[in-house]
Symmetry: C2
Subunit: 147 residues, 2 copies
DNA sequence: CTGTATGCAAACATTTTGCATAAGC
DNA sequence: GCTTATGCAAAATGTTTGCATACAG
């Protein structure tokens, strides 16, 4: 973690970080493809099961790794479901937020007025940088409320 | 779970559910007391550790059970932290939100303008009831940014 | 005394990680 | 041919549960 000195004379990775992202593998393509077809949030387990069901099974760990990476790369949005699982969805066009039914999981996209701008202002006022935020509303949708 | 018929002639619990809530035990009092002193969200593990530190140690499972029960009884608010733990806080009268440094944990209380009112409006527009929400901002505070 | 609450340890579920192997570039 | 990605199984994590015991009412 500290003070490790590398003594080998030359690395193979010559050019300055032209490494150009992750390698294109069947598994990564499969995850990307299936995420493209899903419009709601889904857990890693669900994605894994869905791939298995379409005879394109890949390792569960790989699903977790890939989803994490895609989320880190801002390709996916990630939220925590009320029961504590991570759920992912294709990240379209800048952050957005959701109104989620805590029973059936139905989600509605919402856009708070002036929200992003307000977060920047608050952060600036308090000397914070490198801002991120999390905003979700939870409730019972009409159907679940009726049932 | 179903169809279990009790054959003993009389139960001890005579009157119609005058059971009057949970029993008052040292452990439950300890959890209640410590939650009363905390103004931020804290996980079960943190509560357990805090009690141990003040030589009032109780079982971890009991902490989980008690917090769950208090949350079910609407005595505590519960959120999920970004890393997937449940965090509890005394259920106060009008929610507030925070700007949290993701390095040192320093928190600043923030009050989005018209936020609660806006959430009610959005929920109503979408037929959602029994609303709850979660809003936190994360960033690097000035000190941590300098370091 | 009766039944609920506790503590402990084991069970559980979800997610992460170590390591040998396969595969991309 | 380097090096990254994968799969598997094991570890780690956070939480819940079964059961014998302690204790509140």
């Amino acid at each position: 973690m500290m003070g490790i000195v590398m003594h080998h004379t030359e690395t193979t990775m010559t050019n300055t970080e032209l490494s150009s992202g992750p390698r294109r593998t069947r598994q990564r393509a499969a995850v990307g493809a299936i995420m493209a077809t899903l419009n709601e949030f889904h857990t890693a387990q669900e994605v894994h099961a869905a791939l298995r069901d379409q005879d394109n099974s890949i390792g569960l760990a790989t699903v977790y790794r890939t989803l994490n990476q895609m989320a880190d790369a801002d390709e996916l949005d990630c939220i925590r479901t009320p029961d504590g699982q991570s759920a992912y969805r294709l990240c379209s066009h800048g952050h957005h937020h959701h109104l989620v039914c805590r029973r059936c999981g139905r989600t509605v996209e919402i856009t708070p007025p002036d929200f992003e701008q307000w977060t920047r202002q608050v952060a600036a006022e308090n000397g914070f940088i490198d801002l991120d935020h999390e905003l979700e509303l939870f409730g019972l949708c009409a159907e679940c409320a009726a049932a």
